[in-house]
């Protein structure tokens, strides 16, 4: 079907607003298709028929998906740990040494997790109202925090573990995280049409 740029932009903003409200993908698809069908029938512009996308998303009052909040964070923390450990696990296998659980490694995992929390908590503001320089500043702040964590943490080794099992474990954890993230993705699904 023919859609104007204005309509495409409006629908994109509408989807973002529903996503920020944690509305499940099938309900988003339903709401988007409803708007499209209505606009095709009336020939109106989306702003004339539905008003601003954020207000319409608010007024629709679709239920948010609030399940597995704690699981989501555990999953993300495991993902951060796995992705951080993986590069550190390669070198000891190549050089034939033990894998070292260092203070730097643990600090790094903590800093990346903290950055993730900061981004998640401010996600609404970042997407809706932040200018590019503000997002850039946050990115630089995170990079600085990572650099500081590496530079300032004392060089302490807590634990030595066999390198090859550690690398295999890290690879499995990364693969598991990718599988979990893909499974919990919630794509926008169009409604199924009944042919009458």
């Amino acid at each position: 079907m023919i859609t104007s740029n204005e309509q495409r932009k409006w629908l994109e903003d509408f989807i973002v607003e529903l996503r920020l409200r944690d509305v499940p993908g099938d309900l988003i698809g339903d709401a988007v298709s409803t708007v499209e069908a209505h606009l095709q029938d009336t020939g109106e512009s989306p702003i004339d028929a539905f008003g601003p996308p954020d207000e319409y998303a608010e007024n629709l009052a679709l239920p948010g998906r609030r399940n597995g909040g704690a699981m989501l964070w555990v999953g993300r923390a495991v993902g951060v740990a796995a992705f951080t450990v993986l590069p550190f696990a390669i070198t000891p296998v190549v050089t034939g040494r033990d894998f070292e659980v260092t203070a730097v490694l643990l600090t790094l995992i903590l800093v990346v997790c903290a950055a993730l929390v900061v981004i998640s908590v401010n996600l609404d503001a970042i997407v809706r109202s932040w200018a590019i320089w503000q997002s850039g500043l946050l990115g630089m702040g995170i990079a600085l925090a990572v650099a500081a964590a590496i530079g300032l943490t004392p060089d302490v080794v807590f634990l030595r573990l066999p390198a090859i099992p550690m690398l295999v474990g890290a690879c499995l954890a990364v693969a598991g995280f990718i599988w979990w993230a893909a499974r919990s993705a919630d794509p926008v699904v169009r409604p199924t049409l009944r042919i009458s």
């Binding site: 339903d30 709401a31 708007v35 069908a37 209505h38 029938d41 207000e55 319409y56 009052a61 409604p191």
Partner: protein, 105 residues
């Protein structure tokens, strides 16, 4: 006015399942003004949550298909109740408005 609109939408659905634009057109034809999509669909979504209507997507002619709304038994009961209340309210209001000027002195 919101209550009146809700009642009017339920009334349109009484004659059978139909889609949003047709509901808006029927209301306009009945002289109830033009209802924007931004007002109509949030109302229909609330009706769906309250199980006053059920929905079904049907294929249209080349378009994205249309979402049809059908009145449930609870929706019919709600319409009957609101119609009764509305009649009682308008009767009382008209009695009041048509009363002689000195009645309340």
């Amino acid at each position: 006015m919101r209550g009146v609109l809700g009642m009017s939408v339920l009334k349109v659905l009484e004659s059978g399942p139909t889609y949003g634009y047709a509901i808006a057109a029927a209301l306009e034809e009945a002289g109830l003004g033009s209802i924007k999509g931004g007002t109509l669909y949030p109302l229909l979504t609330r009706f769906e949550s309250a199980q006053l209507v059920t929905t079904e997507w049907r294929a249209g002619d080349g378009g994205p298909g249309r979402k049809y709304f059908s009145l449930t038994d609870a929706g019919r009961a709600e319409l009957a109740q609101q119609t009764t209340d509305w009649q009682a309210f308008t009767t009382q209001t008209l009695t009041h408005l048509n009363g002689a000027p000195n009645d309340h002195q």
